[in-house]
């Protein structure tokens, strides 16, 4: 036997992933086990020495009577040695030492079991093999029977079982069978102790000395398991259990789990209370002090209180632990909720781009409703020149924070691919082709996406106003709707490219179509078309096309609102199964003449500067284009807007900046006020009352009344902007101008 199985098995100390053993309890259990093994060796050794030197009190250490059972002493000693050798000493013992320890343990275990076995066979076959006198050759004449020196059958059986258990333990480091055997011994020993305690002789054997044998008539004449022997056996059983505190039945007791806590509290009570009350009951019966029935009733009554108390105590601990656990769970849920909330805000404020508002040739609007509040849809606007803009709309497979992170990563890689292509291109002024950007970005991220089992559908569209062209790469995305004003029909723009993240070597192709002023392009995620109503029907592309066709003349902002209302109305709620994103672009006449003149002015956010702003606007606007009273109205609106910015957006801090620009066209004047203060929503301001009860809050109303168009938005540099337009003609006289031009 060169390789020992025990050497190969190395059990982890952690009971499982979440519950670990309590190190203090483990230390105590191991120490107790070691102490018991040493005690057993000492007692066994002392009895043997006592026998050899004929020291009576030593000889009878285990029996406590005149009878001496040297074999039992040897058996107990051997068991102690085996247990000592089998103590779990950790990993610092070397292999050779460990092997020899195991051999010694095995020999001792076999020895103890043999002694027990031989004794039992002597009882069964009524033999006297003389083993009982091998050590102490005493005539024992006074007793007259050899049986009295033979160990009791209970002791013998216990030795056999203990030997077997130790043998098993030396073969397999930790096995439940060892502990079951140890428990069996413990039970035998416990019964014997109970017998002694209650005076029930049958439980430990019958002491039959000399002539008394006849008196006890037909009871078997066995030697008794003496109390010290029973105690020693019980301790050994306990030592055996305690030597492997991480395994089997002891796993629960030594663990720091709630189960361990309860077990450590209730198990001792389960042993002590019945024993104690049973003894009380027997003692009361023995005395004539109380009536037997009354005594039993009283004992039962106290028993109920004691057991109930222990159970309540344990339940109280469980209750407290449970309350604590639920609190922790709730806190964790709150933390998670907060993280989602923060993620959502980050996505809203930093990951979603604002659609451009300052382009003369198109109006943009974007809408996004995440299903799980934070989502995997994304869009981006790359403004290369006044007349070249890329719109990117993507949808990551999946939802929640991982999808949002992938969306952000995809955006980053698209931009990286873009700048990389510019850097390596021959002509720094030429924009990289959309197909090359997508192909390069895909080659960067495809393998990572495959590993993450996700993919991204993208529509990359470039508006090239110099050529009136839309160049697009469709990567498995929903088909963009192109409303053509000339024919009044919708066309679906579809390519045949794969989504990003399926094949790193994919070469993407791009398509080109003609676009005209008045055309409308609607980019959307499948959350729109795959919204379902209560019967499970899909919203579908047809409904979307109908909607676009019906409302093609509307401002994109308004169209987007209608679209949202339509999808919500269809699905019957504002909560969708998938993220819902839509970007619409309405093209306008882009060959209109530019401004006649343009000027910019920066003022500090001091109310004293209001006059400066008014003078600047008056100076710019009053040269011919607008009538005098229209210039006054425009000035009034500018003054109100600037003072709102100072008072509300900048909270009256005078050290900030407001940037104004004025563009004077042949037929109108446009004033924009940019600021970096808090954005404010004019819709939140309630309509003013004109009954004299209100002294302030008229600003928004005055602005709206004083100019023809007002728009609040975030510009492409991230500044909050208020744009004001005053036309030279009355609004109803300029139908032909096709909308505003902010």
């Amino acid at each position: 036997m060169n390789s020992h199985p025990a050497l190969e098995i190395s059990e982890p100390v952690v009971v499982n992933d979440v519950v670990s053993a309590n190190p203090r309890i483990i230390w105590w259990l191991k120490a107790i086990s070691l102490a018991i093994s040493v005690l057993a060796m000492t007692v066994g050794g002392l009895v043997v020495i006592g026998g050899l030197l004929d020291v009576i009190w030593l000889k009878n250490l285990l029996t406590g009577q005149e009878t001496a059972s040297p074999n039992a002493a040897i058996g107990i000693g051997l068991t102690g040695v085996a247990l000592w050798q089998l103590q779990d000493q950790g990993s610092d013992t070397n292999e050779v030492q460990l092997k020899s320890q195991l051999w010694l343990a095995k020999l001792c275990a076999i020895g103890a079991a043999m002694i027990g076995m031989i004794t039992i066979s002597e009882y069964i076959f009524d033999l006297d093999l003389g083993v009982d006198h091998l050590l102490f050759d005493e005539p024992q004449a006074s007793v007259g029977t050899t049986m009295m020196d033979r160990m009791a059958p209970g002791t013998a059986l216990s030795l056999v079982i203990l030997g077997g258990a130790l043998l098993q333990m030396s073969r397999r480091k930790a096995h439940w069978s060892t502990q079951v055997l140890a428990l069996a011994v413990g039970w035998i020993a416990f019964l014997a102790c109970l017998g002694h305690l209650y005076g029930a002789e049958l439980l430990y054997g019958v002491v039959c000395i000399g002539g008394d044998c006849e008196a006890t008539s037909n009871l078997p004449r066995y030697a008794a398991v003496a109390l010290p022997t029973a105690l020693m056996l019980g301790l050994l059983a306990y030592g055996l259990l305690a030597s492997r505190p991480h395994d089997g039945l002891m796993k629960i007791i030594s663990s720091d789990s709630t189960g361990g806590l309860v077990a450590r509290r209730i198990l001792p009570a389960a042993i002590i209370f019945p024993t104690g009350f049973g003894w009380l009951n027997v003692s009361l019966l023995d005395t004539d002090f109380i009536q037997p029935d009354l005594g039993a009733a009283l004992v039962a009554g106290i028993d109920v209180i004691a057991v109930g108390g222990v159970l309540w105590w344990s339940s109280w601990s469980l209750y407290r632990i449970d309350v604590q656990r639920r609190q922790t769970e709730r806190e964790l849920a709150q933390v998670r909720e907060r993280e989602i909330e923060i993620g959502y805000r980050i996505q809203r404020t930093l990951l979603f781009d604002y659609p451009p508002h300052d382009l003369p040739w198109a109006r943009f609007a974007a809408l996004t409703i995440p299903s799980d509040r934070i989502d995997g849809d994304f869009f981006d606007f790359l403004i290369h020149t006044d007349r070249q803009i890329d719109v990117i709309l993507g949808d990551v497979m999946g939802k929640g924070v991982p999808a949002a992170l992938l969306g952000a990563a995809t955006k980053t890689h698209l931009l990286r691919a873009f700048s990389h292509l510019i850097a390596i291109g021959n002509d720094r002024a030429a924009l990289p082709e959309p197909k090359d950007i997508i192909t390069l970005a895909n080659s960067h991220i495809a393998n990572e996406l495959i590993a993450l089992e996700s993919f991204v559908t993208v529509c990359y569209a470039r508006f090239d106003l110099d050529r009136d062209r839309l160049i697009f790469v469709d990567c498995g995305h929903t088909h963009t709707i192109h409303y053509q004003q000339q024919s009044g029909t919708c066309v679906l723009l579809s390519g045949e490219n794969m989504p990003l993240g399926l094949d790193a070597h994919e070469i993407y192709t791009q398509y080109e179509i003609q676009i005209m002023p008045g055309d409308l392009l609607v980019f959307y995620s499948d959350g729109v078309t795959e919204a379902r109503n209560r019967t499970g029907e899909l919203f579908g592309v047809e409904r979307l096309i109908d909607l676009v066709q019906t409302h093609a003349d509307l401002d994109p902002e308004e169209l987007t609102k209608r679209l949202r209302a339509a999808v919500e109305g269809f699905s019957g709620s504002g909560n969708f199964a998938d993220d819902l994103t839509c970007v619409s672009v309405k093209l306008k006449e882009h060959r209109l003449p530019g401004p006649l003149r343009r000027a910019e002015l920066a003022i500090s956010s001091d109310l004293k500067e209001l006059a400066t702003a008014r003078d600047f606007v008056e100076q710019m606007a009053s040269k011919g284009v607008l009538s005098e009273d229209k210039v006054s109205s425009l000035k009034r609106a500018v003054s109100e807007a600037a003072s709102n910015i100072i008072i509300h957006a900048y909270d009256r801090r005078p050290d900030r900046r407001i940037e104004l620009d004025v563009e004077v066209f042949a037929d109108r004047v446009v004033v924009r006020l940019h600021h970096l203060g808090m954005s404010f929503d004019p819709a939140q301001v309630s309509a003013p009352k004109f009954d004299g009860s209100q002294e302030g809050g008229f600003g928004i109303y005055i602005i709206a009344q004083s100019v023809d168009e007002v728009r609040y938005y975030v510009d492409d540099r991230g500044r909050n902007c208020i744009a004001l337009v005053k036309w030279a003609d009355q609004p109803d006289e300029r139908r032909s101008h096709d909308g505003s031009d902010i």
């Binding site: 003054s639 008072i647 002294e695 109303y701």
Partner: protein, 110 residues
């Protein structure tokens, strides 16, 4: 903006010159509102005002309310077309006693 006040007979006349906006409306209120702690006759002459914003008009409403609270009387006069246009936006002609000229106003006080 300049604020001057004089007493003609039993009528207090406050004359404003310049532009009345959020930057100086508090100054105007500090000058005028203390007068309206007793039941006086007050005339605000706006003929020198080239521009008034919403806070300026709010101050006029405030004066009217103070005057009404102490049993005084408030009249305004001399509105330029620009100021009148602004007043009409907030329908102030309905709640304020507006006269064309100072003389007209003084006569109507009598």
């Amino acid at each position: 903006m300049e604020v001057t006040s004089e007493l003609v007979g039993n009528v207090h006349i406050v004359t404003l010159n310049g532009e009345l906006d959020a930057s100086n409306v508090n100054y105007f209120k500090e000058m005028v509102l203390p007068l309206l702690t007793s039941p006086i006759k007050l005339l605000i002459d706006l003929s020198g005002i080239r521009f008034i914003d919403s806070s300026g008009m709010g101050a006029m409403i405030s004066c009217q309310r103070h005057a009404a609270a102490v049993g005084g009387r408030l009249k305004l006069c001399g509105l330029s077309p620009v100021v009148r246009a602004a007043f009409e936006l907030l329908r102030l002609q309905a709640i304020l006693d507006i006269n064309n000229t100072r003389e007209e106003a003084l006569q109507s006080f009598a």
